[in-house]
Symmetry: C2
Amino acid sequence: MISERQCIDLIRQFSGSRDKEFLVRGIGDDCAVLKKDDADCLLLTTDTLVEGVHFDLAWHPPHLLGRKSAAVNLSDIAAMGGRPTACLLSIAFPDGVPSWFAEFMAGFSEVLREFDTLLVGGDTVRGRNDIVVTVTLIGEVKKATVCYRSGAQPGDLVWVSGPLGNGAAGLELCRKGLQKSYETATDLQQLVKAHLDPEPLVRLGAVLAASGLVHAMMDISDGLATDLAHLCKESGVGAEVRQDLLPVYEPLRLAAAALGANVLDWVLRGGEDYQLLFTSKAADENKLRRLAAEQSDRKIVAIGKIVEGQGVFLCRENERRDISYQGFDHFRG
Amino acid sequence: MISERQCIDLIRQFSGSRDKEFLVRGIGDDCAVLKKDDADCLLLTTDTLVEGVHFDLAWHPPHLLGRKSAAVNLSDIAAMGGRPTACLLSIAFPDGVPSWFAEFMAGFSEVLREFDTLLVGGDTVRGRNDIVVTVTLIGEVKKATVCYRSGAQPGDLVWVSGPLGNGAAGLELCRKGLQKSYETATDLQQLVKAHLDPEPLVRLGAVLAASGLVHAMMDISDGLATDLAHLCKESGVGAEVRQDLLPVYEPLRLAAAALGANVLDWVLRGGEDYQLLFTSKAADENKLRRLAAEQSDRKIVAIGKIVEGQGVFLCRENERRDISYQGFDHFRG
């Protein structure tokens, strides 16, 4: 057995260097970036969802699972500031293709249509035990505006695009059999939706990238503590997050109280938020806030700042605690 | 449960039409073909290999499994006459990343290097029960020379790039525990190699496409009877294959005799040959044969002809038997 770190090092070791003129950015960002022509780059990303690990059919309606399978990949394109163009779908089914696959495809293609993305290739193969969905997305982005994880600078503001922890809370509600609240008009509805049917922030990502004001960007899929640590590592900087600035959707507190869960745990360590995490000069704070509100109807939130050094620290009054990588681990679930 | 046919229709129904200027060819060929610029197209293909269905670690050394995972996808690029450029790898491991993953990566990247293809993105995720390997390849091809399945014309010769059935025989040898012959210098070595370490015919595919003499092309992954039926259906034609012309590697007969298997079954219905299947005008027979020999060191074999109508027929003396789609079915194994 080798660790996740060793594993990533191994993949990097065998992956392309920058020798090739057409490889702009390889392993280590939300998408691979290839040169298309002098002005444009191609974006490539792939994600695998495994039944029982990344989704559970006991509570995930096939239509929403189809939507989510597209959305989580679109989120990677959003994180680079790109525009999705085309998509490949590959699914392994252990016992033949179930009839609900029609609903899955309807949801999947619905989201692709919303973002003007074409399904250009699809395949089903025989699985053994588990249903496994793999989606590959291709997109485009102006070479001049593409946002990487690696551009954060000391003094930058750290931003998130909206409330954190909703996906984790929604998962917990589903696990407890409370997902039906999704169909009723309760306050918990948005939490369950965040898990079952997350929204990829493609428009916001493109607006932020086009502004030229964003230094570094990624999406939050493994929790803020882990993903901000990734961003910091790629940028060679550290970060301080102020606990009092973390955006929390009010019903999340109700859900935490009802389920005996810890709000801060969900907010810092919950996976699958699919919010955008980005940095900018402090001087651009108001400009960026206005841009996001006007062009993408989003209220973005500054939660801290980039500092010299390394590590991600949570600050509260006089406390300053290292929370780097304390998040969702794909191998612990 | 829905049939494989219904499933493909479903995927097609939701997939992109030709409306989009940039989609040259979607579902239904070895790769999706997207417009890159006025002269060139992008090729996209993805394939999923499931442990226990598409490979068995009991006899598949990790190094060769890595090689094969790259090769089967490169074969799809070869089938369009393309040049592979970049690759994404996604693997699900149920119990953390095993130490043999290093050997897998060495084999995988070895084959990519042979074909000047860069690994630009890679990811491991937690699986539940099975190891699942998904590879996505991107390639390029001149718009003027790309080969589709759909161009076959009545009167065309039907060609294959080499002996058939070796992959199926190799699998059977492995299942019977005879794979060690791979390491000794026996006649069976090539059969086991055909299963464990198939060669993607990228160079031959490019030579054939560039010649401008090939009307339709695909690779043989599900057996001749099934894949030729696909090619005929896409072209709106039928085919007659002459049994006496089918190329058989001599040791295949020995293996069939030893294992009590049927040679013709392996040749017509065996999956995973990864030979190229293509058609050309009969008048170009010698030109094409010479080209393949000189520029790719391959002895290509004409096995029959394209006819009006539909169906794939095996002809022997006065017999003419419909063998359409009698091959490897991904859902029957």
